[in-house]
Subunit: 343 residues, 2 copies
DNA sequence: ACAGAGCGCGCAATCGATTGCGCAATCCCC
DNA sequence: GGGGATTGCGCAATCGATTGCGCGCTCTGT
């Protein structure tokens, strides 16, 4: 519990001034080789570690990087968190984890905290409806938006080709012979929800398939919604032969509901999940799913944030990076029982 | 990017001294009601937020809490992280996430960083073989050990009844009629690995069942080991009729291997998983698994850490809290094909 | 041998919040 | 009405690292 030694302690030990100690540890050229060596050795011996608070105060900004996520239990975000943590660790930054539960109030509070901590910058998956002040704070601090994009703030955005993801899913089902395909996704209030649904619609349209709006469910991002949506879809007089999901959590809920309802997958219903994790391979004969290059995306975003906060950064138009998802074809999709001829 | 306003700005605005501003915001009784109100309103108007670095410097300790985990993608740890993040958020602390990958070097580096940041304390799931300096740093900072216990440091420890967990698993299988039961767990170099194996052994012994050491696999904590261990077990001339796993990651790997090998679960092999997550319910007819009260445990541990760092804390003997796991009986366990009579 | 150049190091201010001490004004009571 | 008590606020130091400036010493060239 005793305080770690400071530069003052080292200076006293060696009968030097604090300035000299500071310059030695900073590798300043104005210090003789010998003195530097003595200082470095004494620092090590005494167990000196720099006081980040003092440095932050002096420099006006800390080495803290914020990560603002709706849900850390979500495999998608925890994978991203791991990648981001790795990047931060490499560069000697502290990663502050802020979980919002998609609650704008919590989100704002976390943003305020990060501002209090004079965070160097942050990576944010914006909540569905950020508060006004949240937007202001975002504009006032270097940051990147991750996956979701809140267009009310002009920021750099690192996302996935959401439309393409759904095109892959829908195309796969269409190729298998499905014509009546349901969609369960997140609200169109978020960019990702909008783009995914858009991609789904377009693909079906391009294939000349009419969309039954009763089979299109877009709502909240949680497991419960997925469950309820699937329930509603199964209760339709003319249930679909396939379902596409467009969100990791709701995908889980939807699949859970289908299983609980005794629907045979894939013989009675083909199911395309969203996002990937080791456990998903277990579902029945494995889950056909949309895989996202999460780690790559997260590392790209973090690197960019660091470059941006660096001194040599020229600010230009907001950067926009989109990585392409892929589809993992496994056992939860198959041709429909009776292939229906295209209309 | 412009600096947030400071107390000095507020003081200038109101033609007061910085001291008065500070005392007003700190709700000191030595300030008139009117002045306090003016200060508070000006602070709000200017968008003042306290500079945590300055406060940390003055007080000698920041409001940062460290969370040192081997793997944030593990559902067990991410659930704990969520609970801990919630606690921190409630109390206005920043949670710094440090992922070690069970690498002692990374672990040490993170500990050094937290010391640099003058962290208030930390919650650590110790790596398998912490470095000497890691132990020293642990002793020098308030912390609690979570789940795993490194007995080389006398700390407060919040864990689960590991022996009891395995007793539940083994007992369940024995009651179903199994007599040849394999064990796949983590290395006995960690406390949890030791205690779990111990619990497994004792339960079988108590039931008068001899243990075939060829069916006992204890190794690293990862998915790969689980896979390999299961492979080895299935290759035995006399394979078991049931398997108990004692770790979330290796449980996944083991199950994966069994499936890949075409072993029918539960008819040819009963399988007890470890830890729980929404997706686990999907495996075949659902996975029988050991459920751990993660959230409760994490919140208890965090609360304790806060109490410990508080001023009114009387230090006594290290605290030791053990919560009890439960077993979720689902579809991956059943009676063996031919019940074997007890020896 | 002397002036100027260059090297090595210390002084002191700074960042923002906090706090012990002190000063002035008002108040109370007898 | 006067002395002590109380109230309301400012001064200045402090935490630890960083940095512009300057001082003294050594070295070099002529």
């Amino acid at each position: 519990m005793k305080r770690p030694p400071t530069m003052k302690d080292i200076a006293a030990e060696l009968e030097l001034s604090v300035s000299t100690v500071a310059r030695s540890l900073a590798d300043s050229p104005r210090i003789s080789r010998e003195t530097r060596a003595r200082v470095v050795s004494a620092a090590e011996r005494l167990g000196y570690v720099i006081d980040l608070a003092a440095r932050a105060m002096r420099s006006g900004t800390s080495s803290i990087v914020g990560l603002i996520v709706p849900d850390i239990r979500n495999d998608f975000y925890s994978t991203a968190a791991k990648a981001i943590a790795d990047c931060c660790q490499e560069r000697g930054h502290q990663l502050v984890l802020a979980v919002t539960d998609d609650d704008p109030k919590l989100e704002l509070e976390h943003l305020r905290n990060l501002r209090s901590a004079r965070a160097l910058g942050f990576i944010i998956i914006p909540s569905v409806t950020p508060a006004q002040e949240t937007l202001r704070l975002m504009r006032a601090t270097p940051h990147v938006q991750f996956v979701r994009n809140c267009s009310k703030v002009e920021s750099d955005w690192f996302g996935i080709e959401d439309g393409e993801a759904m095109r892959l899913a829908a195309r796969h089902l269409i190729d298998l012979g499905h014509r009546r395909i349901a969609y369960i996704g997140s609200t169109v209030a978020i960019s990702t929800g909008r783009d995914r649904l858009e991609g789904f619609r377009r693909t079906l349209q391009d294939a000349g398939i009419a969309i039954d709006e009763r089979l299109v469910k877009a709502g909240s991002c949680d497991t419960e919604f997925g469950f309820a949506a699937m329930q509603a879809i199964l209760a339709e007089p003319q249930p679909p032969s396939a379902v596409v999901t467009a969100g990791a959590r709701m995908s889980i809920g939807a699949y859970d509901c289908a299983r609980a309802s005794g629907v045979a997958i894939p013989s009675a219903l083909s199911f395309v999940g969203f996002s990937d994790s080791p456990t998903l391979r277990w579902c029945g004969a494995g889950l056909t799913t949309i895989a996202l290059p999460v780690r790559e995306l997260a590392m790209t975003a973090t690197d960019f944030l660091f470059r941006k906060t660096g001194s040599d950064f020229k600010t230009g138009r907001p950067c926009r990076v989109m990585l392409t998802p892929s589809i993992l074809k496994r056992g939860s999709t198959a041709a429909p029982r009776r292939a229906i001829e295209p209309v």
